[in-house]
Symmetry: C2
Subunit: 254 residues, 2 copies
DNA sequence: TTCGATTTGTGCGATATGTCAACAAATATC
DNA sequence: GATATTTGTTGACATATCGCACAAATCGAA
């Protein structure tokens, strides 16, 4: 019950998962040696992991390079499918987006990143396509800020210090202390507004999604073009609809 | 080089992955014993897998039940991000959807399912939200049929026989032989049209995406409302645009 | 081609891990 | 509330697997 004892762990599983995570957009095809250095595993071990993955259909092997197969996606979608939240909120997202003509999303916090778990896309504002499973850093997103606001302050601060905060645009706050001020503001107001800190031209307003016990389990946001006005104007215009959905979802979240 | 020899496999990895896959929408929270029966592993082994997953942050454990965490999504998105195809085709999808005012998607085949890897959603025709990572059975989808058509006939037939074909609508073909006839038709014509076999009110037309060597690596489709007419009308109206994009993408696919 | 450099494949001892069985704790059943 | 059943945990033993060192293969450049 205390810590995980040595005899309760399975090294092989941990190693295999880390091998999967070495595959990125920059390195979609890797040799055994590449995976070995990327994962820090011995070549012999990396080789066994890769051969096992190939054998199970999670990877393809052409005799030289390994690539992941769509079967790996099953792991992720198993996870998404296993979450009750996405299916519960999707109808509300659809309605909200339809009504306002803007994209809305629901995300949860994974360490210092927000992970989209449901989305109703309306028009394309962002340069990259967001979808369930997509990740953005918490510090520069409206959903990230309301989710950080739901944590104990020390924990939020720890997450903000995990890595240097990149200036994604000239408007991005890159000082953890400065972000923390915004996080506190979000906690007090019950919502967060972001003005082009993720991407120029893009604003966003988010509220936390609370379960019946009042615990923030996710965040709901609207993506808006930057020309929509200052924070107060945005809030006045869009907050009522968000709060309404927030209330409805709270009723159905155990 | 021949088969995977016993000494090149890692049992722990295989077991851990199968444990992850036991989590579904129906069973998002599982005890050790439940996972044990679902995976066929000994309880002690299942326990070690689960504790390891929890230790690594892939699962949560409340002392009784395990749930997967969003961290598992990283595995899947690592896979999607590692695919060059989605990023390459996305601009074409966006343009195509914009032009025609209908949703378009690209999918690949994973065993007997199609997996969406890119999508430009225009208006909501389907009851469920489709997005990259989503899966539909191959037998009743236009993209599935053109992808099956690209396989050797015996292999396609094997996939069609893997599980009973569910009648998703009154129009769904549920006889493997009958589906095979359509698959062959798709191969001859170079495209497939589906009329409300997935969902009532929804038609779809698909073409294969070929790489420079002429190998079908994915499928491209348009989702259309059922009122759009019969197969020939649909093809006459939408095929030219699809074929144009097919040609463009073929140029950029190695 | 030949040679060196890098990468990949493979035996081996030491260690980790799976299996099985037993047991204790929790839960269900009556 | 007593019994039966399921579930979680632990220990012992056989075996799989790790990581090392070396062999084989592949690659690159002269």
């Amino acid at each position: 019950m205390t810590g995980i004892s040595q005899r309760d762990t399975m090294g092989g599983l941990a190693k295999g998962l880390s091998v999967i995570e070495t595959f990125t957009a920059e390195r979609p095809r890797q040799s055994i040696a590449e995976v070995s250095v990327a994962s820090g595993l011995d070549r012999a071990t990396a080789r066994r992991c890769l051969l096992t993955l190939a054998h199970l259909g999670y990877a393809d092997y052409d005799g030289k390079f390994f690539t992941l197969t769509p079967r790996v996606l099953r792991l992720g979608t198993a996870c998404l499918a296993a979450m009750p939240l996405p299916q519960m909120v999707q109808p509300w997202l659809d309605r909200l987006s339809e009504e306002l003509g803007e994209s809305s999303s629901v995300s949860i916090l994974d360490v210092d990143e927000i992970v989209y778990v449901a989305r109703a896309a309306q028009r394309k504002l962002m340069s990259i396509a967001l979808m369930p499973g997509s990740r953005l850093p918490a510090y520069c997103t409206s959903m990230g800020r309301v989710l950080l606001a739901a944590l104990p302050e020390a924990e939020a601060m720890r997450l903000l210090r995990l890595r240097p905060l990149a200036a994604r645009t000239p408007l991005t706050l890159t000082d953890p202390e400065a972000v923390m001020v915004q996080v506190k503001g979000a906690r007090e107001r019950g919502y967060a507004v972001i003005d082009q800190e993720v991407e120029l031209g893009l604003c966003s307003i988010a509220v936390p999604l609370l379960n019946a016990r009042g615990v923030a389990v996710a965040a709901l946001n609207l993506g808006l073009p930057a020309l929509a006005g200052d924070a107060e104007t945005l809030a006045a215009r869009y907050l009522p609809a968000l709060v309404r959905v927030q209330g409805e979802i709270r009723k159905i979240l155990r």
